[in-house]
Symmetry: C3
Subunit: 121 residues, 3 copies
């Protein structure tokens, strides 16, 4: 159950939200071997001035930042993560997102830190 | 100081926000032994299409997902967490939330990672 | 690449958002030795009733809570964190934020959990 949270400008969400959702989902399937039916994403469209960033940090030309946060269980290798980042960049670029506008941040926890509505509650 | 972040549809927030807030708070008191005066929650009501999820993952009938993220210090036992998840499901179901619409994700940190406004600053 | 997420009331964002952004940024530079060009912040302005908190927990007089979440690599000492919290409080108070209205929550991950758009993807 990776949980994805995406912060992006409202115009980008309206224009490309479905494509971004699909790009992220396919990248986790390709990179982490995630079950294709395991889909949990939250999009947070932002207004003017709510996403603040350096345009040049790491020698980039950043214009319209998309922040993708992934919370997932600590069980994937460095190799799997690197593959996921590459898949994600490739798929986002394919739908017209600029490479330099991507920021991915992963937070890891343990399996006991997840719960769907408890059946025996 | 567990910090709670809830992503849910705007209609659910408007209809049941106060009940959900109370259900979460009482569950942390019951399950983790949290101080009843320790209350920090953020609700993020969402518009159409912003919360994306599999309706069936884990053999559920998911219709209107509520995502509850809890950031807390790593100090609670597995037993305490399980009790909290059960309490939370029971209390949410009691106010009319469907069991299958619940997703809880806990992220743990350490005590040194929290600060209220520093008195000696 | 610390990533900053700020939840606050819309009126506070409109009145002091730029000042808060700058106060946080300068505090991370001063306290963590962060590169001044390393700036990634998301503001989430909230409507009435979305931020719920105890007014008195920890013997405070809390009125208009600002929640500052910092996700960063686990590499800073306790001393650096404490300095950062103090710098942050001082700078926020300087622009008219009440000391008791500040909550800081840090989540740490590892360097392999960050990706800017991959150049070789």
């Amino acid at each position: 159950m990776p949980l994805i949270q995406v912060d992006l400008n409202r115009s980008v969400f309206e224009d490309k939200g479905k494509g971004i959702s699909n790009a992220i989902h396919q990248s986790l399937i390709a990179g982490l071997g995630m079950d294709p039916t395991d889909l949990f994403q939250v999009f947070r469209p932002h207004g003017e001035g709510e996403i603040i960033f350096s345009p040049t940090y790491d020698n980039r030309d950043r214009r319209d930042l998309i922040i993708i946060r992934i919370t997932m269980v600590q069980m994937f290798s460095l190799e799997q993560k690197k593959t996921t980042y590459k898949e994600l960049t490739k798929r986002l670029v394919d739908i017209g997102i600029r490479r330099d506008d991507i920021l991915v941040c992963v937070v890891e926890n343990s399996a006991e830190n997840w719960s769907l509505g408890e059946r025996e509650a």
